[in-house]
Symmetry: C2
Subunit: 580 residues, 2 copies
């Protein structure tokens, strides 16, 4: 703060002159002491001057409502909601989340540091504070083909960026624990900064070794006992409640039952879709739910504010105290915890304001790098006996690895796989470096008949992924995504039923969330009507079939990957044919 400004604000804080802006008659949540104090909050230039009895040039009478620090989402990915970062942030900010710690892992897998720069640019000067964690595992594994390898060397230039707080979720626990040199080079680079973890179900000893490497947080924790084990190891637990993963009830119920120490717990969404944010809320939803589950509001509000700020070293956020940023949530009462108003740097965030969609550099709109694609590329070799099959599991993104006879038809004296509604063909096509490498497999119980479904969102490498019951429709779907440079598409009987273009890195739309939702509302029911069971979200399920870290069998541009065996097969009949 410049000295002349300090002098002025000091006079306001001391009540010698009127403060710029005063929130009168509030029940102010004091995050440092976990109590409510009735009084006025003086603000100038977006900064809190003091809590007490103040007169202001401008005043707002809160009439006894509850004034809290703005909420903090301690871990989320902006890309997963399919719209531009600004749209998600504006929607979530209206719910009271004024600080976001984002991991631009998806963008980095497609466009490397350009993808990270995109997220940084898009989130600059927003009506919220957006901080970025440097993605640590790009690519996620060595068995996949993504757009970029983010080495420690490439990360160096970001070390001093004021909005880069540390290293993003370190998913590759094995590399950490085993002392992999390239992983530890990254950890070393962020030695004095926060290093986010991703540590579901590590054994006691592994968790100790993981924490010893300096990993500071975890958001993958799903139960109370493991949460406490992580806390004992010095890690913050970011309790996640998003669209897919919902871990809050299990953890918070445990905390409440055991009257456990709540310091070191925070909240996050990880992935939460805009329609759900609009319906249920964002971190305010986590707060509400945690209070309903029996935790005192004072403890819950500390989790949503100061504790997250301390976790990430954000010294002027998360509290209503002198020198802190004037980010506020006004709540109606402590039972309903409804968000009435939200302020960022002392300025009220308007409800339902049209999000400005910022432009995107042309090269980030041209990331589906496939010169031509022909139906022939999807052919499987002749079939002899059993095949390795991805057995889908309803409601899950895991698969079972099974070997069984698949339906075949004869052609030129040989047998070939013939999809039949129970068995479909699945393919992943490398789309970053013009290699066109294509892995083809067989999927069971996805149920699609009479067409194909394809996406350029396929974790974590985001190659093109397609499932269909005939090569012609599958090829059409792939060509459609080349045309739109990414998106979701559904092809039915030789025609594109509809496409949601996701031209920004093949991950995001710039058409606005209303248009995105309208498209999804049209395409998803149609995909179900083509046979995909209701237990699957067609595109989200599809997007995980290429992620080679989830059991038991996956499809990559290099072929079929048996996760537990760490073994790549060229095609579904590869090793079985030899045995037969």
């Amino acid at each position: 703060m410049e000295l002349d400004k300090y002098r002025l604000y000091s006079e306001m804080a001391r009540g010698l002159i009127k403060a710029e802006f005063v929130f009168k008659n509030a029940n102010v949540f004091m995050a440092h002491t976990g109590e409510f104090v009735y009084g006025d909050v003086a603000v100038a230039d977006g900064m809190i001057l003091g809590v007490g009895s103040y007169g202001g040039e401008k005043t707002i009478d809160l009439e006894g409502r509850y004034l809290c620090p703005g909420f903090i989402d301690s871990h989320l990915h902006l890309e997963s909601t399919l719209v531009t970062p600004g749209e998600l942030i504006r929607q979530a900010a209206q719910c009271g989340t004024t600080t976001f710690i984002v991991d631009p892992h998806e963008s980095a897998n497609v466009s490397g540091t350009d993808g990270i720069d995109y997220i940084l640019e898009q989130t600059e000067n927003m009506p919220a504070n957006v901080f970025v964690m440097m993605p640590s595992c790009v690519p996620a594994t060595s068995v996949d083909d993504n757009g970029c390898t983010l080495s420690a060397g490439k990360m160096k230039t970001y070390l001093d960026h004021p909005r880069i707080l540390g290293l993003g979720e370190v998913m590759d626990a094995v590399s950490v624990i085993s002392g992999n040199a390239s992983m530890h080079e990254k950890l070393g680079l962020f030695k004095n900064k926060v290093k986010d973890g991703h540590a579901p179900f590590l054994s006691k000893g592994d968790l100790a070794a993981y924490a010893m490497a300096g990993i500071t947080t975890d958001h993958e924790c799903v139960d109370y006992d493991y949460a406490m084990e992580e806390r004992r190891n010095g890690m913050y637990v970011l309790i996640r409640e998003g669209s897919a993963a919902r871990n809050l009830e299990a953890i918070v119920r445990g905390i409440a039952e055991h009257h456990a120490d709540t310091s070191g717990f925070c909240f996050c969404t990880d992935d939460k879709h805009i329609e759900e944010i609009r319906k249920d809320g964002h971190i305010n939803y986590n707060v509400k739910k945690a209070v309903e589950l029996g935790l005192p509001a004072e403890k819950v509000l500390k989790m949503a504010t100061i504790q997250a700020a301390q976790c990430y070293g954000l010294k002027n956020l998360g509290a209503i105290a002198p020198g802190y940023q004037a980010d506020f949530v006004v709540l109606d009462n402590l039972k309903d915890l409804n968000v009435m108003e939200v302020y960022h740097r002392g300025i009220r965030i308007k409800k339902d304001e049209q999000a400005e969609i910022r432009p995107c550099a042309p090269h980030l709109r041209n990331t589906v790098h496939l010169l031509k694609f022909r139906e022939e590329n999807l052919r499987l070799p002749a079939c002899h006996g059993k095949a390795h099959v991805l057995q889908m599991e309803e409601g899950q993104i895991t698969t079972k690895s099974i070997q069984e006879e698949v339906p075949c038809m004869e052609k030129n004296g040989e047998l070939f796989f013939a999809p039949n509604g129970m068995y479909d063909k699945i393919a992943v096509i490398e789309r970053h470096k013009y290699t066109g490498k294509t892995g083809i497999g067989i999927v069971k119980d996805f149920g699609l008949t009479g067409g194909a479904i394809a996406s350029s969102v396929s974790h974590d490498s985001h190659n093109l992924i397609v499932i269909g019951d005939n090569d012609r429709d599958m090829a059409l779907a792939v060509r459609e995504l080349i045309r739109t440079q990414g998106g979701y598409t559904l092809v039915e009987n030789g025609k594109v039923f509809d496409t949601l273009p996701l031209p920004i890195m093949g991950l995001m739309s710039d058409a606005g969330y209303e248009n995105v939702n309208a498209k999804l509302a049209r395409m998803i029911p149609r995909a179900h009507s083509m046979g995909i069971p209701e237990g699957f979200d067609p595109f989200i399920t599809l997007s995980f079939m290429a992620l080679p870290v989830i059991p038991e069998i996956r499809i990559t541009p290099r072929g079929i990957y048996l996760v537990q065996e760490d073994r790549m097969l060229e095609h579904p009949f590869a090793d079985l044919r030899i045995r037969s």
Copy 2:
């Protein structure tokens, strides 16, 4: 940590190989969760690997005793105990304090950055962690003559020192709040670091302005209400229990009665003498007392460990968790809380080990810069009517400013002040820059007869200070301190009764604490027998008479200082003579 070391320690943490050193069967205090967990603690190379079930190359069976992280003294001055830093630290470490946050404010006032370097050197490679805060107010005020002005410019080179954590106690609240440029230059220099406060009794608005300037802690707080007010302003409260100031009971009783949030409270001693440390303990005494006052041991232990570490950003201290330094206190049980053993970096601290006294650079042993001193220098002008008098208050370091007739005798036709046991003469002589500037005053109720008492420890500038009932003995006392280059001395009827030499900057002895204590045990009773009331510690009371920030009247080398009026008088009759 080097990668090959990490790999080895990771295998130990995971139990794949035996750990270097294991503490078996301990009730381990988990600072992050505030609970005790029964198990083993694995250690290698002074670092904690994990808590669980471990086998070790070397083991110690704790048989169910309580293993806690080493305690942290969050604020202390090493000089005030009169011995070398190493002696104090060794004694306190035996009581379980393994981390010290020290402010070398006294050394800096005498020898500037050389004094700070001395403290840094003397505390290097100790059996404890010693961190240093850069003294912020040297000199403490502009009305005094000290050895050095510590400007922001001189502090710059220390910014990257790994053991300098931030800016030391910012006593000059007025300069902070009013936006004094030189003070704010220092605050700005330590922008991203801890800035210790010193904020007794600020008004609500002043405290807000003080906190807004980024001040992070206060150790001057004496009651619960003010402590909570500081916490609400985002400041850590370092609860002080030392030799002189004892604030623990008032604050902790309040916390216990109100069931207040204890996060953000820590413990400190500020000033605690070695004989008291040996008798009562150090931070373990604070812990014991806080538990006796009704706080749960788990909360108290967090205050003594992890919370102080978090306050000062000490990421690998204050907890028993993987990657943390192996600093331990073994307690017998949670009721008596007796310290049985102490470990620093996994090595046991031996009881009553002879402290190594490290050498000191010659120029720091030559800091009483007075070429010659004559009795004539102590003469007061002729006396006409009333005088300004320092009225002592028993048991206090404050004085009352009174104007009254003082005893006089005639000489050459004029009246001169004549000490009589109730009224003594007091003088402060500048000793840093050979100016010999001498301020002379009259003190009431100090009671000294038949001699003089003098010291080179006189806060904060540490000039020579002397009180006596005759000029001859006072001059002898001053000459004795020039001879010993600092110390405490007592002169009786024309002879030096005894002297405790304090040759290190005139502040510390290198004769060992036993010798220091022996000298004090001889000199202090003699001083009382010469008339100084039992309610005063003769030398400590003397040392505060020159501190121009304590009400109401002080003596400086420039004359008599009326604190509230901020007015300097050349001699005790200065303005009164004109009026009379």
